[in-house]
């Protein structure tokens, strides 16, 4: 009898099957996540703080330096967000005040209409567009430096949230329109927390309460079906599925950072595009806060022949966006030729490898604001209660220490991106083509890492 060798299963389908520790095996954690306090207690705290921020940005001091709303948003929340995504996935989305407002308005007034098809199909492109638009508007109109500007932005987002909530089902805004949702989805994929169902338990389930909802909680607000969910891009760790599942199929596990990026089954061009756009945005954010920015702007004005900031910044912005996109496309072309893959296929697969460096660059940039201006939150909060402190230093750490931390982050991000690119190459191409596909991306990640290091080497201006 001739025994045929078992066919090797495609590596792209297999994830690492090592058993991760299920946090829900801890009774206290499980009890808390299943209780009515989760995530409500965090949601209400976030909502109260958000209300204060709205009030302060719209009617508080018009100087960013003295405004608690601006300080809390851009000096504390924005720098901490990527760290939260890295450690806890999209947990912020689960407690986001916009989401809470969405749930409330939907409960009182919701029409629960189905999500339009064009949103399902093009939502991520809209997210990309909004993200670019808001970043551009911030620089041109000075949203971050202006409490009123920040307040208007929050109110515009709130309007979109409420309209989506009263008309459509679940958290349509969060899933298909929130620009931050797109960013958080990418970062959450590199995050260290994952929620999965146990297929063997789910196959006997007849209620599907995790998706449809049950007595204890509504169904998944992000339109995810835990049984087939294989990524953390959309899961906001709201705990509804944990509460509804009577079979204890849901697992909450800790995993190595970036692991999910190694085994993406259906890479999407628009998600890869967002990853590389974020890199461009990090470049723009860094360049415009450096001391050489005003002379650079002046040189550009002389070259173009106009002193209109709208024009000069827009040109800079387009160049900063285009450079990483073109760099990735060029790398994809070379890698594709070497490994026998198409340009856009390679672009889509390896675009995700930039996410660790995105995360590191984002963290490093905002680390400066957090550690060099963080105390501004304390002093502006004191001012809310009439305690005014003049001539204070907002710094938590000195500049040199912050710079070293930034370098460390960029190095870690670069290494993370390099390793992710290697694992993507390994899981998508045969043994003979892995290194051919990987080497061009190795060079790209090193170059991007060096550029980021250079940008953090130069002195940066304050936000407040």
């Amino acid at each position: 009898m001739c025994i045929q060798p078992v066919k090797e299963i495609q590596p792209a389908v297999i994830e690492n099957k090592k058993k991760s520790k299920n946090l829900l095996d801890n009774k206290k954690i499980a009890a808390f996540l299943k209780s009515k306090w989760f995530p409500s207690i965090f949601q209400w705290i976030a909502l109260i703080v958000f209300a204060v921020i709205i009030k302060e940005t719209l009617w508080g001091p018009s100087s960013a330096h003295d405004n608690f709303g601006t300080a809390a948003t851009w000096v504390i929340w924005w720098p901490l967000i990527p760290l939260i995504f890295l450690l806890l996935g999209r947990f912020w989305c689960g407690i986001c005040p916009f989401a809470t407002v969405s749930d409330l308005f939907q409960k009182w007034f919701g029409a629960h209409q189905p999500v339009p098809r064009f949103l399902k199909k093009y939502g991520i492109w809209l997210i990309d567009f909004f993200f670019i638009l808001i970043t551009w508007a911030d620089h041109v109109y000075g949203i971050v430096e202006s409490p009123r500007g920040s307040g208007y932005l929050l109110m515009i987002i709130l309007t979109g949230v409420v309209v989506a909530a009263v008309l459509f089902e679940r958290r349509t805004w969060c899933r298909y329109l929130c620009f931050l949702g797109g960013l958080s989805g990418n970062y959450a994929r590199a995050g260290m927390l994952q929620l999965r169902a146990t297929p063997e338990i789910c196959k006997n389930c007849t209620t599907q309460a995790c998706f449809k909802g049950g007595e204890k909680a509504p169904g998944c607000p992000m339109f995810e079906f835990p049984r087939t969910m294989d990524n953390m891009a959309k899961c906001n760790l709201c705990g509804h599925c944990i509460k509804n599942c009577s079979n204890d199929s849901i697992k909450l596990e800790v995993r190595p950072a970036t692991k999910e990026l190694w085994f993406i089954r259906k890479p999407k061009l628009e998600e890869a595009f967002l990853s590389v756009v974020i890199m461009g945005i990090v470049f723009v954010q860094n360049v415009t806060m450096l001391e050489f920015w005003p002379p650079l702007l002046k040189a550009l004005e002389n070259f173009i022949g106009t002193d209109s900031y709208y024009v000069t910044f827009t040109i800079t912005f387009i160049i900063a966006m285009a450079l990483p996109i073109l760099a990735l496309a060029g790398t994809a072309l070379v890698s594709g030729k070497l490994a026998g893959d198409k340009l856009w296929s390679s672009f889509a697969k390896f675009g995700y490898a930039i996410i660790p460096l995105d995360l590191a660059g984002h963290l490093a940039h905002n680390l400066y604001h957090l550690l060099a201006e963080g105390l501004a939150v304390v002093y502006t909060a004191m001012a809310l209660f009439g305690i005014k402190v003049n001539d204070y230093s907002p710094a938590i750490l000195d500049h040199h220490t912050i710079q070293i931390l930034q370098y460390i982050l960029v190095v870690l991000g670069t290494l993370g991106s390099i390793y992710t690119a290697y694992r993507i190459a390994k899981s998508n191409y045969g043994e003979g083509s892995t290194w051919k596909a990987f080497i061009p991306y190795l060079i790209l990640m090193v170059v991007l890492g060096i550029i980021n290091m250079m940008l953090f080497y130069l002195p940066m201006a304050m936000r407040m």
Partner: protein, 213 residues
């Protein structure tokens, strides 16, 4: 089978938003229209001390010193809240005067309607020497929008004195109310439309199960 009302929904929202933004000056600040074409001005008052009548001076008598002063007020434009007054005093030949004594008062204008029928007693302000010679600073809190009257009195070291008054227009610097009205209109319109949709599709209808794309 439930109708997909997504396109009528979007058309409706776009119509409401267009009407709202066209009919309300969304980003105009109240009162902006009056001063739209006027250039931004920083409040500067420069005044020369009136010359004493010419008197035949004998060789033994010294002429009186002549002074100039400038008043700067920030922020510009003046908004409700704290403002900083800066007075720079120097002789006509440009020498800063460090020993002047400057006091003043601010009070709401006599036109009560301008301040929502509120009145106030004059608030005294005392100038303290600044970091530069000849510079005097004072912080003033304008707690109401409207027209205020500021009166400044300067006593020079040689005993001469001067005073002047000026009107200050304190403007509102909070969120643009038209913008907020527009937000409210859009939200209310969408809530109203949602109730109509609910009635058409059946009250409290829960969404069918839709798998995400």
């Amino acid at each position: 089978m439930r109708k997909n009302l997504s396109y009528p929904v979007l058309v409706f929202l776009l119509t409401v938003a267009t009407i709202t933004f066209v009919t309300t000056p969304v980003f105009a600040v109240p009162g902006d229209e009056e001063h739209k074409d006027e250039p931004q001005k920083q409040t500067i008052i420069k005044k020369e001390v009136e010359k004493e009548p010419v008197v035949e001076v004998t060789p033994k008598e010294e002429p009186l010193e002549e002074y100039e002063f400038d008043l700067f007020i920030t922020p510009t434009p003046l908004i409700k809240g704290e403002a900083e007054f800066t007075v720079k005093v120097e002789t006509k030949s440009g020498i800063p005067v460090s020993d002047a004594v400057i006091n003043g008062t601010v009070e709401m204008s006599s036109d009560m309607e301008d301040h929502g029928n509120m009145t106030s007693d004059p608030v005294g302000i005392t100038f303290a020497p600044g970091s530069k010679p000849g510079e005097y600073l004072a912080a003033v809190d304008f707690d109401s929008v409207g027209t205020w009257m500021a009166t400044i009195e300067i006593s020079y070291p040689d005993g001469q004195s001067d005073s002047f008054s000026t009107e200050l227009d304190i403007t509102y610097d909070g969120a643009n109310p038209y913008f907020l009205y527009s937000i409210m209109v859009i939200i209310l319109a969408s809530i109203l439309y949602a109730q109509i949709l609910k009635k058409k599709s059946g009250k409290g209808g829960r969404a069918n199960v839709h798998t995400a794309s």
